[in-house]
């Protein structure tokens, strides 16, 4: 599963962040912000229009991401608890 598909208020665990194309600076930035293997993430809110963007809790911080950004984050399967 990907972060973009994670339902609201369900914790997930990051497996990896995938690059889209060579030199993906968004993927690199996501990793720097703490989206790394083993990290717990949770979608805490979604935007009012088209459920975009989403608000993601990672570590002690909350980041607003668009779904296209969140789709780079792969989550561990079955670790939804």
């Amino acid at each position: 599963m990907r972060l973009a598909e994670l339902p609201r208020r369900v914790p997930g665990i990051v497996a990896s962040v995938e690059d889209q194309g060579p030199n993906d600076s968004i993927a690199r930035r996501l990793r720097e912000l703490g989206f790394v293997a083993g990290e717990q993430v949770e979608v805490v809110a979604v935007g009012p229009m088209g459920s975009e963007p989403i608000l993601v809790q990672v570590g002690f911080t909350r980041f607003a991401l668009r779904r296209a950004e969140a789709a780079r984050v792969r989550l561990l399967d079955g670790a939804g608890a």
Binding site: G34, G47, P48, E52, A64, E69
Partner: protein, 615 residues
């Protein structure tokens, strides 16, 4: 050697965005740089001086926040270049003060580790310890210092003496600079090390503050969140009118009294005319808007410190994206309500260059506070004060409408630009939402005081100078006898040929020219023109609003209001666009489209109003 003769040690404050670097900088150097509760407040390097208790002096650099040394936006690039010593005209700092937010260590420790790898002398300041304690977060600073291999101190940048421990450590470090005793080496996993440090030194009862969760549940709710946002924005405009009126009446009465008194004491002649018609009428006509400007700023300052602004950006991101902007454009555009110049500067924190350019180009459409006097004057003169639907102030509603028209035009313009570019590429958002904070009354008052001083300095400087100049052009060559034959009168009449289709008379045309340098001057100029035009003295001492109400048609007033929504005439804004885009072409484009829009919209307004019988 005497400590005072040494070259000052250069310290750079570095760290993640919004961790309190600038608050600390202000505390260390006694400066008053802007502090606010969102990421990307500081976008330039700023230098200040710290004098330690030993008498040694330090050059302290405040830098923009960065998440990593791989800069993703222009402000981050400034921080990276200064730290690395490749910023033009600037030597690398001798030592780093790495600032961390104690409530956000999972993120901030990683950057501290990245900075430590540079091998520069470094002190870590764990800031916001007051907030951390309140949340029951425990940090073992001694252990952290041992594991990091660099000095670690706690600070509370917003409390008096909250940086004392930091100054002590700086002084001690200055005795003998040395590199960090620990390093991970190239390719090490900074996240793994961060987790190890957290596990060993930090006790965190909950990952988030309970109050943030509770507020976000409502303020980010798809329905209530938008409602709350609309309410906040609307309240501001109501307040600007409803609360300011008594003070404005007082200032108006004071100006009139002063004009009459001076006019009665001085003999008729150029001096009396300069003082009464030129300076008192002109400057008084602008000062009267100080209360409204301050109320507007009180709201902006409170919102900036509350942490609500990035939430508003979150709520509006999707809408702004479909118009060719991004949620990240929200804060720069909101700052442009104060003045487009800091607004345009603030776009440096927008990562995507296309979003940044679009934001810069539409920022002048946000009604800046210098335009408020023009709106307020015309609304006051032409829209009767009345309560509609029981609660709303009608003048406030019209003001809200004008601001809304500016915003709608901005969205439209950026949408057109987006179609033009045909850009289908991905735009990143990646926006951090900070903790909520209650604004301190003291900081708000200081902020307002500063705004008042800036405004009064403008009034006493450029506005006064232009008013006097305009008086000269109006008074000569014929001694104020017939204003239409004066130098300015002739210029105004020549221009009014161009502006007749939009309904501007020659008085307005005169006022438009000095308005290029400062928009408020349009108001003081009108005041001076009319004060000189009215022969009889009691009328000259009158406030401007009734004068123009007599002299103009409603169509002309509406047309001028609409003109000022677009009003391309602010030279400093255009210069800032040139500097920030580094392109004459963009600047010329912005000037051209703003002028065309202003003329077209004013033309349409005037003609329609005349057709409807308001001519």
């Amino acid at each position: 050697m005497n400590a005072e003769t040494l070259a000052p040690l250069r310290l750079a404050l570095v760290g993640n965005p919004n961790c309190g670097k600038t608050a600390l900088f202000n505390q260390l150097t006694g400066s008053r740089q802007k502090v606010a509760n969102y990421a990307g407040v500081t976008v330039e390097r700023k230098e200040g001086r710290l004098r330690g208790p030993s008498g040694r002096s330090y050059a302290v650099l405040d830098l923009p926040g960065a998440y990593s040394l791989n800069a993703a936006s222009l402000d981050e690039a400034v921080a990276r270049d200064v730290i690395r010593g490749c910023y033009p005209g600037e030597a690398a700092p001798d030592a780093l003060v790495c600032v961390m937010d104690a409530t956000n260590l999972r993120l901030h420790l990683r950057f501290a580790l990245e900075l430590r790898e540079l091998g520069k002398p470094m002190i870590v300041a764990v800031n916001m310890m007051d907030a951390a304690r309140r949340r029951g977060i425990g940090i073992d600073l001694v252990e952290l210092e041992r594991l990091l291999g660099v000095p670690v101190v706690e600070t509370v940048a917003v409390r008096r003496h909250g940086a004392r421990a930091l100054v002590e450590r700086i002084e001690r470090m200055a005795e003998a600079l040395h590199a960090p005793t620990q390093r991970l080496g190239k390719g090490a996993d900074l996240h793994a090390e961060t987790r190890r440090l957290l596990a060993a030194t930090v006790r965190m009862p909950a990952r988030t503050a309970r109050i943030d969760d509770a507020l976000d549940r409502w303020l980010l709710h798809p329905l209530f969140g938008l409602l709350a946002l609309a309410m906040v924005m609307f309240l501001i405009f109501q307040a600007v009118y409803a609360w300011a009126t008594p003070l404005m009446d007082l200032i108006d009465a004071g100006t009139a009294w002063l004009g009459e008194t001076v006019g009665a004491v001085l003999p008729e002649g150029p001096l009396s005319s300069l003082l009464v018609d030129g300076i008192i009428a002109g400057v008084g006509g602008v000062i009267v808007f100080l209360p409204q400007i301050l109320i507007l700023f009180a709201f902006i300052l409170a919102l900036e410190e509350s942490g609500y602004l990035p939430r508003a950006a979150f709520l509006l991101d999707r809408m702004m994206a479909s118009a060719g902007l991004s949620g990240r454009s929200f804060i720069p555009l909101l700052s442009s309500f104060a003045c487009a110049i800091p607004g345009i500067m603030a776009t440096r924190s927008i990562q995507d260059p296309r979003d940044r350019l679009a934001t810069i180009l539409v920022a002048p459409l946000m009604t800046c506070s210098a335009r408020l006097p023009v709106y307020a004057l015309l609304i006051g003169a032409f829209i009767p004060q009345k309560t509609v639907w029981g609660v709303f102030n009608r003048q406030g509603l019209v003001l809200f409408g004008l601001y809304a028209a500016g915003v709608a035009s901005a969205l439209l313009v950026s949408w057109v630009m987006k179609q033009w570019r045909r850009d289908k590429g991905e735009h990143a958002l990646l926006l951090e939402l900070p903790s909520y904070r209650v604004p301190h009354a003291r900081d708000l008052l200081i902020g307002l005081w500063e705004r008042a001083m800036i405004f009064l300095k403008r009034v006493g400087g450029i506005i006064l100078a232009l008013t006097v100049l305009l008086w000269v052009l109006l008074y000569f060559p014929n001694g104020g006898a017939d204003v239409t034959q004066s130098l300015a009168g002739r210029i105004g009449q020549a221009l009014s040929v161009v502006f007749a289709p939009v309904g501007f008379n020659w008085q307005i045309c005169i006022a438009l020219i000095p308005g290029l340098a400062a928009r408020e001057v349009a108001v003081s100029s009108l005041a001076t023109v009319y004060a000189l035009s009215t022969a009889d003295d009691t009328a000259a001492a009158q406030a401007l609003a009734p004068l123009i109400n007599d002299g103009w048609s409603l169509a002309t007033a509406l047309s001028l209001l609409v003109w000022y929504i677009y009003a391309p005439m602010c030279i400093s804004t255009l210069a800032t666009i040139k500097r920030e885009t580094n392109s004459w072409k963009q600047m010329a484009g912005a000037t051209g489209y703003l002028f065309a829009l202003a003329y077209a919209a004013a033309f349409a307004t005037y003609q329609v109003a005349v057709l409807l019988g308001a001519g």
